[in-house]
Symmetry: C2
Subunit: 446 residues, 2 copies
């Protein structure tokens, strides 16, 4: 057993300024990689022991990739990092006055604090949706969803009751951002190429994939061109797209839409929104719409030596009055940029303001199908966009081996349509009372 009083953060004393980084996402990792252990002691906190390439997470959920292909342990990533310390502990608060962060294990003084906690799923206060829906933010979410999808098909092949079987075959995706769209595309491919061979007792004509989006177009953050092209592509693949519609409630059985329509489904996938993963101790005046206001140097308004980068940071500019898009690039660029600024601080040099270099946005909708908005109103579509997406993402994937595995997986899948990772490893369902859990408990366990 562990008792709090047995525990200590065990961070060695140091004469160097200590940089504490909360969160090991795109921002935190790129910061840590570009800080010198000669100048700073670097302490990173996260509640997972790995960094993940989250744009590919939907691939794990749809049995295209195993988790290790898109994730790398921090301790492997930084195993040569001088004076770098990772701790798998949750941060409970920050005290800007005493310059300490608090954890359940103990406190730690910082010289510079970088908040890079990113976002978490936003259920807009609906506890029932939070309880029964499947989010897609972290690897356990993706494995949860993967097991749920295939469990539902296994169960459907055991069901006599027609309406119940239909609810096993219905998948509702709330939110048509990149995650929702990419997920819908991958599911449509599975339905076309994999599932009919797997479950020959089931009629996959009856499998409905609903994509429900509150805005008036899919991929609302991309260009109208990309949005409408994607919608056509998805509808051609038989996905039921419902725009201007929100999922308003879900009890694990029935999804109620804002139009009043009710869809019976065992699987509601929640990609309808995120909110900043805030930390206690950041004063309210520094927060706007759940994100932390920062200046052009990523400094938090009015909090000396505290910085925020990535999705959690709200950096307004003339070009981006509502802040930067919540994608990987701003986080990566801010992480690298802040590393330079911290070095400048150390050398008493003036800080350089951050300028976002927009490399464009890509979304993949399926085999041969992707859209891209590149700088200068250039839009990519179809196969070429798909190839571009493929190489950009593999390029950014962390770790040589991961790239290799992902790439060989892609090549293999492209020619075979196979999705090999259809293992129901365990009942990853989130609620004791969910059908899958019940099913596993009653029909499988020893």
């Amino acid at each position: 057993m562990l008792y709090v009083n047995d525990l200590s953060l065990n961070i060695p004393e140091t004469t160097k300024p200590r940089v504490v980084i909360i969160g090991g996402g795109f921002g935190g990792v790129n910061l840590a990689k570009n800080l010198s252990g000669k100048d700073f002691q670097i302490v990173m906190f996260d509640r997972q022991n790995y960094n993940g390439f989250w744009p590919m997470l939907y691939q794990v959920a749809t049995a295209g990739l195993e988790p290790d292909a898109i994730a790398e342990p921090f301790r492997k990533m930084f195993d040569n990092g001088e004076d770098f310390h990772f701790r798998l502990v949750k941060i409970t608060g920050v005290n800007p006055v005493t310059r300490t962060i608090t954890t359940l294990i103990g406190e730690l003084q910082y010289d510079y604090l970088v908040i890079a906690t990113g976002t978490k799923s936003n259920f807009f206060g609906n506890e029932s949706i939070k309880k029964f829906a499947f989010p897609l933010k972290r690897i356990p979410d993706a494995l949860n969803l993967r097991s749920q999808l295939f469990q539902a098909f296994e169960q459907a092949s055991l069901i006599r009751d027609e309406p119940l079987r239909q609810s096993m075959l219905n998948v509702v995706i709330a939110g048509a951002g990149p995650t929702g769209v990419e997920l819908a595309g991958a599911l449509a491919e599975m339905r076309e190429h994999v599932l009919p061979g797997d479950y020959r007792g089931l009629d996959f004509e009856k499998m409905n994939i609903y994509l429900v989006e509150g805005n008036n177009r899919v991929l609302p953050l991309m260009s109208p061109e990309s949005g409408s092209w994607s919608q056509q592509f998805l509808e051609k693949k038989g996905i039921i797209v419902k725009l201007g519609t929100r999922v308003e409630d879900y009890d694990g059985e029935l999804a109620r839409l804002s139009t009043g329509e009710e869809i019976p489904t065992q699987t509601l996938i929640w990609s309808a929104g995120v909110t900043g993963a805030l930390i206690d101790g950041v004063p309210a005046e520094s927060i706007e719409n759940g994100r932390i206001l920062v200046d052009q140097f990523n400094q938090v308004q009015g909090l000396p030596n505290i910085f925020a980068i990535g999705d959690i940071a709200l950096m307004k500019s003339k070009k981006y009055p509502k802040g930067l898009p919540g994608v990987a690039q701003p986080a990566i660029q801010q992480g690298k940029h802040l590393a330079g600024n911290l070095a400048r601080l150390l050398r008493r040099k003036p800080l350089k303001p951050f300028n976002y270099f927009n490399k464009g946005t890509l979304a993949v909708i399926g085999r041969n199908g992707a859209v891209g908005d590149l700088p200068g109103k250039l839009h990519l579509k179809g196969f070429f966009a798909w190839i571009t997406w493929l190489f950009v993402h593999i390029y950014y994937l962390v770790g040589f081996r991961n790239k290799l595995v992902v790439f060989s997986n892609w090549i293999y899948r492209f020619f075979t349509y196979q999705r090999s990772n259809r293992l129901i490893i365990r009942p990853f369902v989130r609620q004791e009372d969910k059908a899958g859990q019940e099913f596993i408990r009653r029909y499988q366990e020893d």
Copy 2:
């Protein structure tokens, strides 16, 4: 929600004889692959939706491979199988009189029943060991163990209390059969090449790996030569081998040995024994030492049209008076052989007796280190044995892609010593009250 009365096995009626196979291990899969869907309707039951290459399971537990590299879904394996039906349901009993098997969902009549349920961990009735030890029989076990190992190191780096930290660094392996030996070797390699870089705050000189075996040599089922060579190899790698010793009790904190010695450890790995996974309804007189007595045709004594193959079957012969070894080869060969005999039955031809062709036994102890007993008292050792082991196992691994992934993993690991899959994906610990669970709950969860 699922209710039993909603459910039905949904197996189509047929005029062909129906072969019901319980268990999709080496035996069941090789039988099904060699039966013709033109002659028979084939129904396979398992409580997992995949077939696994279990000799490589220890690789998953030690972060060398991801589950998908050693497992393949039945529905992928048999997606071209004519009149083949897989059902993910537990069998609750067999009734030889009415020729039915019963499940929680419903009954099914069989013409031929093949019991291929294999074995399960044997805790020799010790409930406390069963509750706290980590077995290694199935993929969830391996992921459990993987998470436990790395959680223990994360926790150890947060611990002030010296004895408690030591208990996090101690690993006790009960049983020095192939699984125990291969695990010990893999852990020793991690300790040497991976962990010191990962956890620089920890002193891995202090990490003790105990291998506890009740018999008077390691690999008791292999030749004395192989056993003693392996023991030397393991001890050279710093593994503490205790022969003629059993783990008699474990409370999650302290492992008590038959010598009276007590080892504080958070991780007791149980590979000390298996017992047949029996099914209710098989009469006692057909059972010996937890296995089902079969004749040379794999027919169960006194039960017409019921066969048993693989580990669950006890087939005595002059050469093997105690039955065949509990390894993959007899199961594979019996599965193929029984397929032929069932076809002969159909054509009213006499059955052919099964003869086991011993291809030899191999065990790998680590990089460059393996032992093999080949027919004709030929013994392999060291690098050559390792290469042999490598290719034999990759050859037998199911699925083209799996072979590819495993092979590239091996090549990569051989040159880099890396083990990439060190992800603590979730608290896979088995008990609410285990330290890891507590740790995750208190220090990581939202």
